[in-house]
């Protein structure tokens, strides 16, 4: 949606048009809820975060100056609310996750060349519902900022520039974390697929598009 539409929507909300605010909620509620759910892994937390996010958007609308896209602002508020929720949960659990929360590195990131192209096999496992849980487990092991960047790029489909704006990082820093998150998830997928069965995809000599 073009920024001028965003600006029009914000102008209407600022002018007291509550229907315009409901329009904004309709446009973003699924995205906000989905991101919050994937970051926290908890439906009740995701619901609370969605409520906090839209209340914040309404209350802080004057501070939005349009220097970034409306969607970027909403994703940033969502990520901050989710991280705060995770921090509270970890404090309550009396477990020191601060290092992981602030972590700039993925623990035990290894890069192993595959024993063949297991892509088709993984595809079959996802179709049969066996891989979704493994992927969720793997993403849960990522430090929060890596997880956020991965979700914004590969699930929500944002550009590296938009993500940099949201997480307040340079594009090279975003790309570096995205790459390491993907390498980690690829490695976890590979471990699983190669454990479950030998790759049954096309032979590597078979001509395929890159």
């Amino acid at each position: 949606m073009p920024p001028d539409h965003d600006q029009d929507l914000i102008d209407r909300i600022r002018a007291g048009d509550y229907g315009a605010f409901e329009e904004l909620v309709s446009r973003f509620e699924r995205k906000v809820y989905a991101l919050a759910l994937k970051l926290t892994g908890n439906q009740a937390d995701a619901e609370e975060i969605a409520q906090d996010v839209f209340l914040t958007i309404y209350q802080k609308l004057d501070s939005f100056r349009g220097e970034s896209a409306l969607s970027s602002w909403i994703y940033r508020v969502t990520a901050n609310a989710a991280f705060m929720k995770l921090r509270d949960r970890r404090k309550r659990a009396k477990v020191d996750f601060d290092e992981k929360l602030a972590g700039e590195e993925i623990p035990s990131l290894t890069t192993t060349f595959p024993q063949g192209d297991w892509s088709a096999n993984a595809d079959n496992l996802l179709e049969r519902g066996e891989l979704g849980e493994k992927l969720s487990d793997a993403i849960a092991q990522l430090p929060d900022k890596f997880k956020l960047i991965f979700l914004l790029k590969d699930v929500q489909g944002l550009s590296n520039e938009e993500i940099g704006d949201i997480v307040n990082m340079s594009v090279p820093a975003v790309k570096s974390r995205l790459h390491r998150a993907r390498l980690f998830l690829r490695e976890k997928l590979q471990e699983y697929v190669e454990t479950v069965g030998a790759p049954n995809g096309p032979h590597r000599d078979e001509k395929r598009d890159l």
Partner: protein, 96 residues
């Protein structure tokens, strides 16, 4: 398995630049050098394919979240109670 350089590109470089390669954000000569390496290096080609598969499978696995109807209704009810009749933008400054 040959892990030595093919043309001017090494296997290590191939793995390092996969983000740019799959994004299509490389300049054409660099892209062609990497394509030549992938064509000559089956392990890197397998790595590339499984890297791309990780992206597409993750998108499919995680992109299916819908907000439940009851959650959406409670959200609207909550916001109406907190916001309706109140002027927006009265929450003070915030780091945006």
């Amino acid at each position: 398995m040959d892990r030595t350089a093919t043309k001017s590109v090494t296997c290590e470089e191939c793995i390092e630049v996969l983000v740019d390669y799959v994004d299509g954000s490389m300049d054409q000569p660099t892209y062609q050098a990497f394509e030549a390496h992938f064509a000559d290096c089956p392990p890197c080609l397998d790595f590339l394919r499984t890297y791309k598969t990780t992206i597409t499978l993750s998108a499919r696995a995680f992109n299916d979240v819908e907000i439940p109807e009851q959650v959406s209704l409670r959200l609207r009810s909550y916001l109406k109670e907190k916001c309706a009749g109140k002027k927006p933008g009265q929450g003070g400054p915030v780091d945006v």
